[in-house]
């Protein structure tokens, strides 16, 4: 099914449900890995991806037929992930004395669904220190190999600004890794 056909079906009351199932099947893995690399924990990623698709379902009527489905879904998933991360941070700030104690990256070692090495954990810890914009552009570029033009569509930011953010993000992460 082409994207145009899928979009038309999503707008059709009688085909909507079936089309939405196809939408989930098509994008669930890409979106899951995008979310997972941001929130790190599987259960958290599961909550966020479910919220993402439920929001998409509720927002179907607002979806413009000329937009790209993946841009729309990535935008929802990214916003949901950042909201989740910031809420989690606020919630845990009361119980932990420092960011180091709170750090979800620190808990990767004990995660049964993670088998990465120390260098990777260090990389995720470095990511936690970045501002949201830098973190997102790094995530799209480094882990998902997205073009700047695609990231610009998703984040509604200019390519120039994204290039600058990516450059800063890479430099900060490198510095963090070398200092540790």
């Amino acid at each position: 099914m082409t994207e145009q056909v899928l979009i038309a079906a999503l707008k059709d009351e009688f085909q909507q449900k079936r089309a939405f199932q196809t939408l989930i099947e098509t994008y669930q893995e890409r979106l899951y890995w995008h979310i997972r690399k941001l929130v790190l924990d599987h259960e958290d990623a599961n909550d966020v991806i479910q919220n993402t698709f439920i929001k998409a379902w509720k927002g179907l009527n607002n979806f413009r037929a000329d937009a790209k489905l993946y841009t729309w879904l990535y935008r929802i998933a990214t916003n949901e992930s950042l909201t989740f991360i910031n809420n989690r941070k606020k919630k845990f700030a009361e119980n932990f004395d420092s960011d180091e104690e709170y750090s979800p990256a620190n808990r990767l070692k004990a995660d049964e669904y993670f088998d990465g090495n120390e260098a990777e954990i260090k990389l995720y810890k470095a990511l936690e220190t970045l501002p949201d914009k830098q973190r997102i552009v790094f995530q799209f570029r480094y882990f998902e190999d997205l073009k700047y033009e695609d990231i610009a569509d998703i984040t509604d930011t200019s390519v120039g600004a994204l290039k600058a953010s990516y450059h800063h993000a890479v430099k900060k992460i490198e510095q963090y890794i070398l200092e540790q």
Partner: protein
């Protein structure tokens, strides 16, 4: 040159360290068995049972015209309370029941302390007058408490209150911890309803 190679070249230029790491990258994250085949069903289960509609909605409601009448109801309650506490032309400051109870406890404690002080003075005076010059003028706590228990009703509550209310701070009598506890216990065990008692005695 494809996009992936462009991204790698760009990264190599900015940070050779991260370039090397990206090249060695392997898929380190996993998911539970059958997670993806079941994900679609899980999402649809939520949508089907209508939970999605509840997300982000205010599911609590109030009776019709509740907010229209709220300010009037509150003012009526305030008026009624003010009327109830205006005793003998004296307006008593409105307090929460908890604060009122605390204040009452504090005042009764002060009154009891005043009684204790009077008793202490009386005992000391009597011992100075009656006892031999060498005899200690100190009285035991047990003696003081026994005297208070036997004679508490002889003290006029209004007189005591006026003594306490005149200057709460002036009644900062130094009592030992044991005596303080005994006095508190006595007050709690012998006066059932502070608020009623205070109101009926214009305290």
């Amino acid at each position: 040159m494809d996009d992936k190679q462009n991204i790698l070249d760009e990264l190599k230029e900015i940070s050779p360290v991260l370039y090397k790491m990206k090249q060695q990258n392997h898929h380190s994250f996993g998911v539970p068995e059958n997670y993806f085949p079941e994900l679609k069903e899980n999402i649809f289960a939520v949508i089907e049972i209508g939970l999605s509609d509840a997300i982000g909605k205010d599911t609590f409601a109030v009776p019709p015209n509740y907010f229209n009448n709220l300010s009037g109801n509150i003012m009526a309650t305030i008026d009624a309370e003010e009327e109830a506490v205006e005793l003998g032309g004296k307006v008593i400051e409105l307090q929460s029941s908890r604060n009122r109870s605390r204040t009452a406890n504090r005042r009764w404690f002060s009154m009891a302390a005043a009684v204790a002080a009077v008793v202490l003075v009386m005992f000391n005076l009597s011992k100075v007058q009656i006892g031999p010059a060498t005899e200690s003028t100190e009285i035991s706590q047990a003696d003081a408490l026994e005297y208070i228990e036997d004679n508490f009703s002889d003290f006029e509550s209004n007189e005591l209150y006026s003594l306490v209310a005149a200057n709460d701070e002036a009644l900062s009598i130094e009592l030992s911890e044991d005596l303080e506890k005994e006095l508190e216990n006595y007050i709690e065990n012998n006066i059932d309803d502070w608020d009623t008692y205070l109101l009926t005695n214009e305290i």
